[in-house]
Symmetry: C2
Subunit: 328 residues, 2 copies
């Protein structure tokens, strides 16, 4: 079996050179005269991860014949916004381990995590205002707003076991898919024009991003922490009722429903996710959610089917498939 990181590396090979430039830009953007800031941003470098979002900006540009000199900067900005949400998410989720690196808010404190996230957002917007076209600033400011609204909605819907699947998808989409969507749209459209292609690529990104989030939600309840490399069971701790749980709850009798609610809500309970797995068979719920993710990936691929064949298009299809098999 190939190591997942190696697999991703192969998938993004068509834009390897561009990703190098993205990382050069990130390094330059995160360097500051302030030693206190450098201490923090050094640490953020270690969050970097798969950079799938940046790769998809570049691949969307290549696959639509729309690559410019500024695409690497656009990709770096998307990546910085993603990093900002990760840093602020660590405050939100109280997650203990992310990508096997101590979280910012564990090594420092909540205050510093808030500021570092703000700094990353500010850097991202500042860089976007230096580009020749305003399209990047416009799309990403609006996307950041949607992202925040999604997170706020998610927070408001905690412990809501009656959540409709459509509402779950709207919230997960705003929270996760919107940045994938914006990145792919910008890849196809930046610096402007190309609106129809932009819509197709935005839809590719949206469907892929939503599938990504659904797989993430499945991993959170049934994944193996050793393989995935971040604290799991966090959604149950935080009261986030995700698709596999919604499905399970919807099919349960009243006694089991009461038990599931109890596992989520009884004060002081420990290892809630483990207890949830013991209380009910999550298998059918995970199967249902994964089938939904499969359908979303098919829809994503359909939206780029019309593009002429290229290594970039092929890579996008492979990344879409990879989202379904990932276990990182």
């Amino acid at each position: 079996m190939t190591h997942p990181r190696a697999a991703v590396h192969e998938l993004v090979a068509p834009v390897a050179e561009g990703l190098q430039r993205v990382n050069d830009i990130l390094r330059a953007q995160l360097s500051e005269d302030s030693a206190a800031v450098r201490d923090m941003t050094d640490h953020v470098g270690r969050f970097q991860g798969k950079q799938l979002r940046a790769a998809l900006v570049l691949l969307s540009g290549e696959a639509t014949g729309n690559s410019t000199d500024e695409h690497a900067a656009v990709a770096a900005i998307v990546e910085m916004i993603h990093l900002a949400t990760l840093v602020h998410d660590d405050i939100l989720d109280g997650a203990l381990v992310r990508r096997r690196v101590a979280c910012i808010n564990q090594r420092w404190d909540n205050q510093v995590a808030v500021l570092l996230g703000d700094f990353l957002y500010a850097r991202a917007f500042a860089l976007s205002t230096e580009l020749s076209s305003r399209l990047c600033s416009r799309v990403l400011a609006e996307t950041t707003r949607r992202l925040c609204v999604g997170e706020i909605e998610q927070s408001a819907r905690r412990y809501d076991f009656e959540l409709e699947q459509a509402a779950y998808e709207a919230v997960s989409g705003a929270k996760t898919a919107s940045l994938y969507s914006a990145g792919c749209e910008l890849g196809a459209r930046y610096p402007g024009g190309n609106e129809e292609l932009g819509r197709d690529l935005a839809a590719f990104g949206w469907n892929l991003g939503l599938a990504f989030q659904i797989v993430d939600d499945c991993l959170d309840v049934v994944g193996s922490q050793d393989v995935v490399g971040k604290t799991l069971g966090q959604d149950v701790e935080d009261g986030k009722v995700t698709l596999p749980v919604l499905f399970t709850y919807g099919r349960a009798d009243e006694a089991l429903r009461a038990e599931i609610r109890d596992v989520f809500t009884r004060p002081g309970l420990e290892r809630r996710a483990e207890r949830l797995r013991a209380a009910c068979d999550l298998g059918p719920g995970v199967e249902y959610a994964m089938a939904r993710a499969r359908a979303l990936i098919d829809e994503a691929k359909a939206r780029i089917a019309g593009l002429s064949e290229s290594r970039a298009k092929q890579a996008m299809g492979a990344i879409a498939e990879f989202v379904l098999t990932r276990n990182w």
Copy 2:
């Protein structure tokens, strides 16, 4: 004695109509389809306060003969960025009361405060990308970066009793004066050109903002909570060593220095600010700091002395003086 809020109201009379438009824009910007978001933004409306920053954008435009239809939007954006920093500051400071309204992070929780601040930043940037000129986005993205760096630096310099006054001013300036400076610069320059006037007005805003912060720091150690209307003594709780304390510490003998450090750092101590006032005479330190604020206000007024006389210029001078006498 006039009530401070009434006094501010009179000071900004020359731009009262513009401020009305600013508030219409703010209301529209903060309205969202999401009920969860509306719950929060309704609450933010009550943070509104003096809107000095917005008023200074408009006054700087009037005083330099540079008012445009978009000045109200620029002022609203500056105000939203300020609101975002206030909301995130409440996480930072753990302040219990601000402007006599329960803090966001008391009524909801830290997670929601992070998200609401992010939402306000995103809204501000999104609105700035809709303006005809990019100058507002550029100046404010860079200002937000400086603001974050200032906050991070301040956090790193906690419990640093050897802090030089210049370093204290650099940090306080980045944290507070930079947004005043950017607002006044944009008032004089937006949508572009006018660079020399922009520099003068930026300097006016910087000096006024730094004086504002110094007065704030004095109020925090010796103000009356009933009059000021927000939790005081918070800087001492948070380990922020401000100018009146730095001065006092610098003149103290080794025994008193040890006592001051102890008041700041001994674990579990309550009512630290009160104990600090009991341990030493802060009077000369406050006097020194207020003299510095006086000098900064004189410098601010000197930077606009060359402008032709107008109600707006007069109001700016009066606001500058008001900063020194404020006790809100």
